[in-house]
Symmetry: C2
Subunit: 334 residues, 2 copies
DNA sequence: AACATGGTTGACAGCGCTGTCAAATTCTAA
DNA sequence: TTAGAATTTGACAGCGCTGTCAACCATGTT
């Protein structure tokens, strides 16, 4: 079955194809009568313009490429939500690709997006393959790296110091007087690794031992994993006074597992999470956490991209630190 | 800055453009020597093929359109995860658009996807505007409606009876001997509405009163909302013996709020959620729920689409009921 | 030596649309 | 009434790639 084209509409409406194109793109520049005739024809035929052709002809795609490691994590869902909110309303398409936490897949994702001739790329993370970096630079378009702060940004960079956040969480526990402080994590992606580094640094400074509880098999963080990891540690007799979890899900799991095993939070054991997920304030005891600004990260990234496209120029390298906030709640109260 | 094209690569490699195209698409049909020369040229120039041009010329897009109401809800994240898993590995692009629970935006999303000439559309839900329906039918491509069962599927339909699931959850509470059973929900989208209908039906059959607790302002479900709604009900003296929440997040919030208010679950009040989110089994008391099959829904939808595209024919109308499962846990134990 | 065979490479045209600029039409003002 | 401006419409070419088919080449066969 042949698809309906501009020409078909033009024939039916008795005008030239270019007029139809104009009616659809800048209705203001066309007389009332024609506009109505053309719209009638469009509706009658169920015409839908072919984006590929229009992109090719105009060499504008009105598309922004976004790369995230996974769609599975609320953090990125919130971030994408914000990106969408800004970009869609500005008339852009958002093309989301996930790299499944792999730098090779990320490289493929970048190639795919460049092949689509996206007008800008917003990418979570600052660690890329050499080729990825090169492609992003050569492409000569606005690029935003998010969630972390880079020593050497490709272009724009909006994020926070994951290491300092990890350090801050750990200092909070140290300040409460604990010595046996464990770090509990699932898969160590770059960001979790940086938080771990921060933990490390704080513990070293205070001359305390590292107590990691790291999932052996790579698994994304979840409440169930938090339970399992704590249970395993508990059964080994490895019970810390306090735990810093890389993620509120893990923290919730650990907290529930404590309860099952007759340990009270925070009386017997203190727990702090990360990200201040939606439930952290509601659970009981309420969960201390480090609040991160996913939504703002997404919004700001999108806004900077729009500004750059508006100016029709690749922006200068620039870094924005959105910071984080320590929220001390019941789970680490004295 | 001019972008690198096939011709540039061809010139550098000293072959014709068509040969370059062939090297990139079917390397098998080209001699070793040329292949190497061409690849060298591609790398040297950092050439990335223009997808728009290739789509236009070949009239194949290798793209599947996916519409979900929101990216914010884990349910859809898991579903998208499954879709991606299958489709990406089969060499397709996945274009995700969200309708923000609006039928008008859904209509726009459909137009956008058709304009992209996607080869199939996978859409969450069975309620569409008349024009949406018409467009989907006219487009003459595989369409999968998911998450609900339709009386009149557009093409393929993979889902479950939301109403029957709501009915089942309510019957479970009735069987435990409760009479004052509340239904707690945030925004009533179509699926939540159907679950509500199921609740309604069960209550009517058992000759019991409806006790709805419905968020006044449209808000997506969250733990915080669950707390708030329960708190509000409690303060009105409207305390049921059991609660059916449309969503595990609400259930968790309600459960925490009970604890804060000195009500024990399940001794004083029973709670059942919906979806069996990851944390339901881990929290304490563990949360009864209706397990739904998001992951399988996504996988199956993707697989059916692939099969249809393989066969190069729009499949016949077909409905698959993936069912659900009642998981009776501690939060509703006797 | 002449021919058929299979495997490689290339020429041509066109996918459906839009940028540019020219032509046609309408309107304004002298 | 008519030149000139302003508005509206259209012709042309080309965006970058691929389907089709023809041309070419090295081999092996008679």
């Amino acid at each position: 079955m042949r698809r309906i084209t501009l020409d078909d509409v033009a024939n039916l409406a008795g005008v030239s194809p270019i007029t139809v194109s104009r009616v659809l793109r800048k209705p203001g520049a066309v007389s009332e009568g024609l506009r109505l005739r053309v719209h009638a024809a469009v509706n009658e035929l169920g015409y839908v313009p072919n984006v590929a052709a229009s992109r090719l002809a105009s060499s504008r795609t009105h598309t922004i490429g976004v790369i995230v490691p996974t769609l599975y994590n609320v953090i990125f869902a919130e971030y994408l939500f914000a990106l969408h909110e800004v970009l869609i309303d500005a008339g852009f398409q958002v093309l989301v690709v996930n790299s499944r936490y792999s730098e090779i897949e990320e490289e493929n994702a970048i190639k795919a997006l460049l092949g689509q001739r996206v007008e800008a790329i917003i990418i979570a993370g600052i660690h890329h393959t050499a080729l990825s970096r090169q492609l992003l630079i050569q492409a000569n378009l606005p690029v935003v790296e998010t969630f972390e702060l880079s020593d050497d940004p490709i272009n724009l960079n909006i994020g926070m110091s994951q290491e300092h956040a990890g350090y801050t969480a750990t200092r909070h526990l140290i300040a409460r007087g604990f010595r046996r402080i464990a770090f509990l994590t699932g898969n160590l992606d770059h960001r979790a690794q940086s938080r771990f580094d921060g933990y490390h640094k704080a513990m070293r400074e205070a001359d305390m031992p590292n107590l990691e509880i790291i999932a052996q098999k790579p698994r994304h963080s979840s409440v169930a994993l938090g339970s399992e990891l704590f249970a395993a540690a508990h059964e080994c007799g490895n019970v810390p006074e306090a735990i810093f979890c890389t993620d509120d899900n893990l923290a919730l799991g650990a907290m529930q597992e404590c309860r099952k095993r007759g340990l009270r939070v925070p009386d017997d054991i203190s727990i702090i999470g990360f990200h201040d997920l939606e439930f952290a304030a509601c659970v009981s005891p309420s969960l201390s956490s480090i609040a991160t600004r996913r939504y703002e990260t997404g919004r700001l990234a999108a806004e900077k991209v729009l500004a750059a496209l508006e100016a029709a120029a690749k922006p200068n390298t620039e870094q924005t630190d959105l910071g984080f906030e320590l929220l001390a709640r019941e789970s680490t109260s004295a």
